[in-house]
């Protein structure tokens, strides 16, 4: 069953009067529920632009993105926020934790405007404990290592039980060992919790750990390999 459908997606930018950049150029694919997918490509290939449109952060010039039966282009800003809140989780390359707020409050951050139940508070502590940073729950992000920050970011992406997690270069700021640990964590969540993962990366060494790889070049899909090695970490 498809959880994401992308149909003839285009994202063009106008730079100057007669200079059109085709960041995404007529891309179509489907993502099944529970898939672990990597989008790779050189700089400027459009992989981050594609991820942002899948995450309802950016709007396409043309084409459709359907997430869990919701046609994204038909939704207003509040409805898009609701999709991001209920169905999606984000992991960023630079972690993007809120400074001055403890690790556990960062995990709870998506829920803050809506109210935080005690069950969710307990769950946030459980997540941090599960990721091996339970003791760092009350620490400020500034006091955490890169790996710890990314674990907090992963915990944050899980707090609202999303169906899909979008990860933009999640290992980009980490050393290779820590990077692999983060991928292992994501794989575990993918296999146990059946969460769909879409990861953008330029690190070719990570591709051996995923099942499906979409390669982009100049905004177009040049290959879609669904038979990845899925090596153990």
């Amino acid at each position: 069953m498809d959880i994401i459908t992308v149909k003839n997606l285009k994202k063009y930018y106008n730079i100057g009067e007669h200079n059109e950049v085709k960041a995404i150029d007529d891309v179509s694919f489907e993502v099944e529920k529970g898939e672990f997918l990597a989008i790779v490509g050189p700089s400027g290939s459009g992989k981050s632009t594609l991820l942002h449109m899948l995450g309802c952060l950016d709007t396409p010039t043309k084409g459709e993105v359907i997430i869990d039966s919701s046609k994204i282009h038909e939704l207003n800003e509040d409805e898009l926020s609701n999709i991001r809140f209920t169905k999606l989780g984000f992991i960023f390359q630079t972690f993007n934790l809120i400074p001055g707020v403890s690790a556990v409050d960062n995990v709870l951050m998506p829920l803050m405007p809506y109210g935080i139940s005690s069950a969710k508070r307990i769950y946030s502590h459980k997540l941090l404990k599960k990721f091996g940073i339970g003791r760092r729950a009350n620490h400020d992000p500034g006091e955490l290592s890169g790996g710890e920050k990314q674990r907090v970011a992963v915990a944050r992406s899980l707090i609202n039980n999303p169906k899909i997690i979008l990860a933009d270069e999640p290992t980009g700021q980490l050393d290779s060992k820590t990077g692999r640990e983060i991928i292992r964590l994501m794989r575990e969540l993918n296999s146990k919790n059946k969460i769909t993962f879409i990861m953008v990366t330029h690190d070719e060494t990570l591709l051996q750990y995923v099942k499906r790889v979409i390669r982009l070049k100049d905004g177009k899909i040049i290959s879609d390999d669904k038979n990845g090695k899925m090596l153990d970490l």
Binding site: L57, D78, S81, N96, G100, V101, D105, P113
Partner: protein, 377 residues
């Protein structure tokens, strides 16, 4: 949400403190200036209306000490319908009281006033007859004085002591209390003694104090005197002066509101500047918050709440400082502090408005940004 709001404000403590300072100065200015001006209005009205009589002076004289009225008007004034009592007085400067530096600005307010105790009798409405220590003057007293309590305190005088005024020595026989600060600086003596000290011409007085039968007829009696003695005498009621001064101070209050308002607006601009700077610095954060599910209105609420919280804290501290300043002014000047719940609410409302206005534009600006623009910073 409040946790993240406080954390955001604490992130740049110096900037938040400086903004707070701007707001608290505005609010403290409103509280202290307005309360002092209201207190001044109340006090002035109280002082002037406490003097119930009508001052009858020579036409054209700018004040009592510069007025010379002929003795013969005494009986003419008594015949004016509605007049109960006419009290002649002689006023002269008492600027060379022993112990007072002649250059002191206070010397301009020290007067020796001569009265005829036989006529003034039990006229209690004149504040200087309310002797609380010693006794009142009698017609037989020569070279004796009663003084106001403020003057007595200033020169450490007590009943029985002597006092040298304009080179002559007098015995203090009584001290009177009055809530009129200028009156409590007076030296009261027998009218003949006053004439002698001041060298006042025989057959003349400085003025008459006219007391109506009915205090409610004050205006009517004043009009009668004015029409009967037109071109010769002028009649001044303290209530007229009170109205004039109250109106002047009311205008002053508006001006003070305006001045403190400017301080407040500067504070408000400070809040807006802080919030704008803060928003510009955190654009990427707002993008992240939107990416993880915050709505535009949630981000806006957070920014406006930060601004309001900053303003309210500044407002509360400003009220406390304004209260302290006003109390200090009251303590050292005897102008009552007129801080009431209404004024505090007005000042807090002002702070709140500064917070809302200061936060709205930066909040609106942040909400107008698309999530992807914000994430990219």
């Amino acid at each position: 949400m409040i946790k993240i709001i406080i954390s955001n404000l604490l992130r740049n403590k110096r900037r938040s403190f400086l903004t707070l300072l701007g707001i608290l100065i505005g609010v403290a200015a409103i509280i202290s200036l307005v309360s002092v001006s209201v207190g001044l209005t109340q006090r002035s009205a109280e002082l002037l209306t406490s003097f119930q009589g009508i001052f009858v002076l020579e036409e054209g004289a700018v004040d009592v000490p510069y007025s010379f009225v002929e003795e013969e008007y005494l009986n003419d004034l008594k015949r004016v319908p509605g007049v109960e009592l006419v009290v002649p007085e002689i006023w002269g400067s008492a600027n060379s009281i022993e112990g007072l530096n002649g250059d002191s600005p206070l010397s301009n307010f020290l007067f020796i006033v001569g009265i005829d105790p036989k006529i003034a009798g039990n006229y209690e409405a004149a504040p200087y007859y309310s002797v609380t220590e010693g006794r009142k003057l009698t017609s037989n007293d020569r070279n004796s004085v009663v003084v106001g309590s403020t003057l007595a305190d200033m020169f450490d005088l007590s009943v029985g002591k002597t006092l040298k005024i304009n080179g002559k020595t007098y015995t203090l026989i009584g001290i009177f209390e009055t809530n009129n600060m200028l009156m409590s600086l007076l030296v009261i003596t027998n009218i003949e003694t006053a004439r002698e000290v001041t060298g006042f011409k025989e057959g003349y007085y400085s003025n008459f104090q006219v007391v109506p039968n009915n205090p409610g007829d004050l205006k009517l009696v004043k009009q009668r005197i004015e029409s009967r003695f037109e071109g010769k005498l002028q009649a001044i009621s303290m209530q007229d002066s009170a109205e004039l001064i109250t109106s002047f101070i009311s205008n002053l209050s508006v001006a003070l509101w305006f001045i403190s308002g400017i301080a407040g607006v500067v504070g408000g601009i400070g809040v807006m500047n802080t919030m704008l700077m803060s928003v510009m610095e955190r654009i990427q954060e707002f993008g992240v918050l939107k990416a993880i599910g915050w709505r535009n209105k949630d981000v806006m609420t957070m920014i406006v709440m930060e601004s309001i919280l900053l303003s309210l804290i500044g407002g509360i501290i400003g009220v406390i400082i304004g209260f302290l300043v006003s109390t200090l002014v009251s303590y050292y000047t005897s102008i009552p502090s007129a801080i009431d719940f209404g004024l505090i609410m007005q000042a807090m409302f002002f702070a709140l408005i500064m917070g809302v206005v200061g936060g709205l534009y930066p909040a609106y600006k942040s909400s107008m940004m698309s999530p992807i623009e914000a994430v990219k910073g």
